[in-house]
Amino acid sequence: MAETGGSELARPALIAPASPGAAWRLRGIVLDRYFTRVAILPTFVVMLGVFGMPLAFSFYLSFTGYAQGQGLFSGGYVGLENYQDLLSDPAFTGSITITLVYTAAAVAAEMVLGLGIALLLNIDLPGIRICRTALIIPMMVTPIVGALCWKLLLDPSHGVINHWIGQHIVWLGRPDTALAAIWIVGVWQSTPYVMLILLAGLRSLPSEPTEAAAIDGASRWQVFWHITLPLLRPYLLVGLLLRTIFEFRAFDNIYAMTGGGPANSTMVLSMFTYLMSFVRFDFGLGAASSWLMLLMALLLCLFFIALIRRREVT
């Protein structure tokens, strides 16, 4: 640390006379040329072996039929049958709709609530740090445990929520309330993520534009709408991207609370794929369903990345 600009001082070592260690050093230089490759190799192997290969294999699986006690390559080739079956299965097409509706509703609520809380927490008041700490606890809780906690709160006969509203509502057993209950738990868990990202954004914004606008007589609302929000846009986009990606794959809460029921009303794509693969053990269908899911996730990703990029260019 003492010599940050030490490269000039150290340069004479380059022309040091050949020492007994010279041969070793030469080998070191040769090895050095491979440093980057050596450093990247493990990551590359993991990506290829544990990620790329399974994906390629699942692409193959998606064109094979069901086989009891399936051997690696024992399912016969069935062409596009799995994909056709899925796309004509109302449970699958329904699950696409449910996933999109759930994702949109959860992300919208998380963004609005997260932005509101971030703005409040950005005000300099004593004790605000304690509020911040308390508000991020839900996102640290193991998701499946959080969902089980809510399941107890929502219990029809012994749950405290039904007791308070004085009614006997089977929240998770009715198609019209189950998805809403899951939505509430998702928003509870993930609003803190958005809040943290936006709070970091707010803290990094320059204060001059806001102050100048206030001096020029702009109202609070005008400052927020015309200055803070546009400046915050990159952070909003990142929050939007991350939350969309993560809500799209929602699984734990649904598994713990409803398992996709009642009457498929909470059957999101992850749950559908899980049931196909690990309850029905039809890996061909499961693989086809997961490839369709992959493509949708990839499209979502590319859409948001393009949105972020375009912003950076202008």
Binding site: A13, A39, V50, N122, L153, H158, L196
Partner: protein, 282 residues
């Protein structure tokens, strides 16, 4: 950037309003957990009392029950083994790569980096289906090792993103002068770069730990009764036929989330960096 505020009186009124709104929010967000913590400290009779008890003499009997259960101890050990191994593996694999990404141009750098981003973005269930089939053919399914590998797949991109940022912020002069003094890239990396990046390593490690500790999906598919982790055991609690044991469920829930909450608070500063995964600097 602090908010611009008006006159003193207005300011005071506003503070009260802000505190009131925040109090409601905090209560709303923390209430489910407080209530569950309360349930875990009640006897069976107290749990099902109507109207619910708001004041009672707390009992630790649920905790005593859970802690003496052999399957809980086993699941705890499994979780500990799986998550620490996943952390070590992800760091060992990801940190050198992150350093290379930060410092050296090489062919395919952009492509590899993009691939890593995609890896983080794709839904885990989609990778799990073929992984399960492959692992079971290799005799790896139902082992803890398979869960470690699966967790690593999703922790690795996080490590690379986070550590690349850390390495980029370190001044390059230090390693450069070490190279000029005759140290190999390996030595310079090990003796100069890594010690400087220690805070980053800690943060990345804790984020991986959180990821692996909280993982349910991979562990649910890739383990059996002997190798199951805590989240899997929690879900099984819930599925019991003889009605849910509320005391056991809540007490073990508290025990599962306690360590991860403590870890997360230690890494609080770095949470944002980890969440936004390099998409936003700072």
């Amino acid at each position: 950037m602090a908010q611009v505020v008006g006159s003193n009186r207005k300011r005071w009124l506003e503070a009260v309003l802000v505190y009131a709104v925040l109090a409601v929010l905090v209560l709303g967000f923390v209430f489910p957990l407080i209530w569950v913590l309360g349930l875990s400290l009640k006897t069976r009779l107290q749990i099902f009392a109507t109207p619910p008890l708001y004041l009672w003499w707390p009992t630790l009997e649920n905790y005593a029950d859970v802690l003496t259960r052999a399957d809980f101890a086993q699941a705890f050990i499994n979780t500990l083994i799986v998550s620490t191994s996943a952390v070590v593996l992800s760091l060992c694999v990801g940190v050198p790569a992150a350093y290379a990404f930060a410092r050296f141009p090489f062919t395919g750098r952009t492509f590899l980096f993009f691939a890593l981003l995609v890896m983080r973005m794709l839904p885990p269930i989609a990778v799990l289906v073929p992984m399960y089939v492959l692992f079971s053919k290799l005799g790896l399914a139902t082992t803890r090792f398979s869960v470690v590998l699966a967790d690593t797949t999703f922790a690795l991109p996080l490590v690379v993103w986070l550590m690349r940022g850390f390495f980029e912020d370190l001044p390059a002069e230090l390693e450069e002068s070490a190279w000029i003094d005759g140290a190999s890239r390996y030595r310079a990396f090990w003796h100069i770069v890594l010690p400087l990046a220690r805070p980053g390593l800690v943060a990345a490690g804790i984020l991986c730990l959180q990821l692996a500790w909280n993982d349910f999906l991979f562990a649910a598919v890739l383990t059996n009764n002997a190798t199951q982790t805590l989240p899997v055991m929690m879900a099984a609690f819930n599925a019991g036929d003889s009605g849910v044991d509320w005391g056991g469920l809540t007490a073990s829930g508290v025990l599962v989330i306690l360590p991860v909450i403590i870890f997360s608070f230690i890494a609080q500063k770095h949470l944002v960096a980890g969440l936004s995964s390099g998409a936003v600097k700072g």
